[in-house]
């Protein structure tokens, strides 16, 4: 097809058969939609609702832990809450939020008309609420909800299961199907739908991180499906994969689970890297420092993530060689991660910085994620991990990387693109309140957990020794404050959708990227014909 045909194409038949359909109205619009922006919105709202649900559970957990002794909930229900809190935040909040960003932004950033497989895109989203309905329904059953931790170690989830394993397993199967289809869609969109002239090394780093994340998902979600299937047959059909009496091994569960679980950790952080690699250059009014090294660092982290899984299992009695191998591989990850942190700082170096809310969240991300990274390095050292394993130090570590890491990046991205999504500027004062309240309370919430862990407080317990009482009180106060602060965000978003100052096509003077070449709010269909070459050249994140 020649260039002449392009023009002709886009003006007649093209519009007749594909882009003529506008929005449907009412509920049907959302149920039947094939539009990447609609589906992105659905993902984002779903993630936020799940975030509040999981957060409410965390509030109960912190209320119970406010003082020693058992006050509010039974230990078994406490275990159900910690388990479902973890599952919801991982599979229901962080991952769908990132998929929402991917849906909204990737087609616009690469100049594509939509995601490559729009109907499958709809299916990927709509099976998620059903999966969580199944998971949450077990709260109302005789068995109660899963109570074996979000890592569902055998034999807690097999021999000693409270009877919720089947619902848990089938819910996870659906979440896995959703993730795999979503990831295939992202990969195919990026490989096949880039606008002419948008080469791989010209793609925004945001797109690169989602590209690599999607590969991780396709590779490990089926392994999760495999391990929960073995769990199901062990619990209900008499197999003994994780039972020594029949020749199996409970530790094998941990190997297979963490072979999924560790790449999963990076699935939840690589997109965050992509988001702050977009916002930091925008508010530093510079190009991203070391674009290519960012791409290679992201790829290295992804590859290394497949050979570090057993660092979650140092205390299971692995052979010494195994402990050393996994310790060194894990520490190796600090190198590409360090490259990234260096590049973000170097991007800000001598930049013309301004501190809009997305930038505030991004800077907080860089500092606090690095703290989480450092505590990760401490946990990576086998002999030290023997002391830290299963204590609140671990809880502090992964909440620093997941809350002040992933979640803060999600807020940075949400504030950055809200004008593009809604056509209005968000309320600046309220958003600053949201940031500062979150920043202070989140540190009050998670920082003392380091000390609790070092002092030996185990995780996943409803009661604790008296010596931990003071820190736990402060942690709980931080927790309630952080939980309430998130409601400010809800208010900001609703206000922003309903009205506010009209946003120009490009509200941030330092922003680059194709998404800023279209109007705000973004039209229902964008880039039905590819963007002009000069726009693609301008969107290049390389330093010039």
């Amino acid at each position: 097809m020649t260039t002449d045909v392009i023009a002709q194409d886009s003006h007649d038949e093209h519009h007749d058969d594909s882009h003529e359909h506008g929005k449907m109205t009412g509920i049907k619009r959302w149920l039947y939609t094939t539009n990447h922006k609609d589906i992105g919105t659905l993902y984002l709202w779903f993630a936020f609702i799940m975030f509040l649900t999981g957060g409410a559970m965390a509030m109960v957990i912190r209320a119970e832990l406010f003082q020693p002794g058992l006050q509010l909930v039974e230990p078994d229900f406490f275990n159900q809450l910690t388990t479902v809190h973890g599952l919801i935040m991982v599979f229901g909040a962080i991952m769908p939020a990132f998929t929402g960003f991917a849906n909204w932004m990737i087609p616009m950033m690469i100049g594509a008309p939509d995601m490559a497989l729009p109907r499958m895109n709809n299916w990927s989203f709509w099976i998620l609420p059903f999966a969580f309905a199944i998971l949450l329904s077990s709260f109302f059953m005789e068995s109660g909800a899963p109570n074996f931790g979000w890592t569902f170690y055998a034999p807690l989830s097999t021999t000693y299961s409270n009877g919720s394993t089947a619902f848990f397993v089938f819910a996870v199967h659906i979440m896995g199907i959703s993730s795999i289809m979503g990831a295939i869609n992202i990969v195919v969109t990026i490989m096949n739908l880039r606008a002419p002239g948008m080469t791989y090394m010209k793609m925004p780093l945001f797109v690169w991180t989602f590209f690599i994340t999607a590969y991780l998902l396709i590779a490990v979600m089926p392994v999760l499906a495999g391990v929960v299937t073995m769990l199901l047959t062990d619990t209900y059909f008499g197999t003994s994969f994780f039972d020594a009496a029949g020749g199996g091994d409970p530790v094998m569960f941990q190997h297979i689970f963490w072979f999924f679980g560790h790449p999963e950790v990076y699935i939840m952080i690589l997109p965050a890297f992509g988001i702050v690699s977009t916002t930091i250059p925008a508010f530093s009014r510079k190009r991203l420092f070391g674009y290519s090294s960012m791409v290679y660092a992201t790829s290295s982290i992804a590859l290394l993530s497949f050979i570090v899984w057993a660092h979650h299992m140092f205390t299971t009695g692995m052979p010494l060689f195994g402990e050393l191998f996994f310790m060194y591989c894990t520490m190796l990850i600090a190198v590409p991660t360090g490259v990234k942190v260096f590049n973000w700082v170097a991007t800000m170096w001598r930049g013309s910085l301004s501190f809009e809310t997305p930038m505030l969240f991004s800077i907080a991300f860089v500092i606090l994620f690095t703290i989480g990274g450092f505590s990760g390095l401490m946990l990576a050292m086998t002999p030290v991990d023997f002391q830290y394993h299963d204590t609140y130090f671990v809880v502090a570590h992964f909440h620093y990387v997941l809350v002040t890491g992933s979640l803060f990046s999600i807020y940075a991205g949400a504030y950055y693109w809200l004008p593009k999504w809604t056509g209005h500027m968000y309320n600046d004062t309220l958003s600053k309140w949201h940031f500062w309240c979150s920043l202070i309370s989140v540190n009050l919430l998670f920082f003392p957990m380091h000390f609790l862990g070092l002092a030996g407080m185990p995780r996943r317990i409803p009661d604790y020794a008296l010596q931990f009482a003071d820190f736990n009180k402060w942690v709980s106060i931080g927790g309630f404050a952080f939980g309430l602060s998130q409601l400010i965000f809800l208010v900001v978003v609703i206000k922003c959708i309903r009205g506010g100052e009209k946003a120009p096509a490009k509200p941030w003077d330092g922003a680059i990227g194709l998404e800023w070449t279209v109007a705000s709010p973004a039209p229902y269909h964008t880039f039905s014909t590819p963007p002009p070459q000069k726009d693609i050249d301008n969107a290049d994140q390389h330093e010039h």
Partner: protein, 294 residues
């Protein structure tokens, strides 16, 4: 997509199939969850019916969704680029299927290399063997588990060997069918594809026979006969399910060929079914080596 070429990309209009599919998956998962839980509690409930209704609904959805896609394809809405999207999507789907099997093969290797020898006292596990399972000897196939369950191992000669020959031959005939399609030799296409289906169905029948043999009093090889039975039935079982699915795909392709669908340069669906068939064939070869022979 690196050159100047740009074709219009077909973005389908709103569709009700995905939400029907979502409801169907919910019914399957929730029904199965109830069914399995009731089974464990020795109660009877509605789980099984919900599961069956869900399966019926998902079949309805697949038929409807694929009819839409076939119609769009036949009316020429798909560009070359769209075809690429489908191809890449199918390849990554098959890759995800490979990773599913990797989990089970990984479990098999872990059991054989680590856990069974350790239970017998290998490595630094002398105490495990001596104190916990003094009567246990580590051998593979594990015909006597640590807790004393005994079973018999399935040999590789006979049915499994016949099945290997059948499936490998079917991969070749599927390739011939594709070559015939590329040469626009419709007669050859129909014949080779038909032969592939016959070989596939024969494979499934023999697999059922083999299971019946395993479950007979003579062999007593059950799903719950320790890790040998576990890995044997789950690996061959999931493979068998994939072969069945592949066969259904091939039968649909054959019916479409009879209706005159597919041209030498537009036959993604046929290609996808044939890729899938080669994939189940490769998995079988791995199974034959690691489950049956070694």
């Amino acid at each position: 997509m690196t050159n100047k070429e740009y074709e219009s990309y077909y973005v389908p209009s709103q569709s009700h199939w995905p939400i029907i599919g979502a409801v169907a998956l919910f019914m399957i998962a929730f029904g199965a969850g109830n069914y399995v839980t009731d089974l464990a509690n020795e109660e009877s409930g509605y789980g099984g019916y919900l599961l069956l209704a869900g399966i019926a609904l998902i079949i309805y959805m697949l038929v409807g969704w694929f009819s839409d896609v076939i119609n769009e394809s036949l009316t020429g809405k798909y560009s070359h680029q769209m075809d690429n999207s489908f191809r890449q999507g199918m390849s990554w789907f098959i890759f995800s299927e490979v990773m599913f099997f990797v989990a089970f093969f990984g479990a098999l290797l872990y059991l054989r290399v680590f856990s069974v020898p350790w239970l017998g006292g290998a490595g630094n596990n002398v105490e495990t063997g001596a104190v916990l399972w003094p009567d246990f000897t580590a051998i593979w196939p594990l015909i006597k588990t640590p807790d004393g369950t005994t079973t018999t191992a399935m040999g590789w000669f006979g049915l499994p060997l016949i099945n290997t020959v059948l499936l490998m031959t079917s991969s070749v005939t599927a390739h011939f069918a594709h070559s015939a399609l590329l040469k626009n030799n419709r007669k050859g296409l129909k014949a080779w594809l038909g032969l592939t289906i016959i070989l596939g169905v024969a494979f499934i029948c023999f697999q059922v026979l083999e299971y019946a043999h395993g479950y007979s009093e003579e062999m007593r090889l059950f799903l719950d006969s320790g890790v040998y039975g576990n890995t044997f039935y789950l690996l061959t079982g999931f493979h068998g399910m994939h072969v069945t699915l592949g066969c259904i795909m091939l039968i649909i392709m054959w019916l479409r060929v009879l209706k005159g669908h597919f041209t030498p340069d537009n036959h993604f669906a046929f290609q996808a079914a044939s890729w899938y068939w080669h994939f189940v064939d490769v998995v079988w070869v791995m199974l034959f080596v690691f489950v049956y022979i070694l």
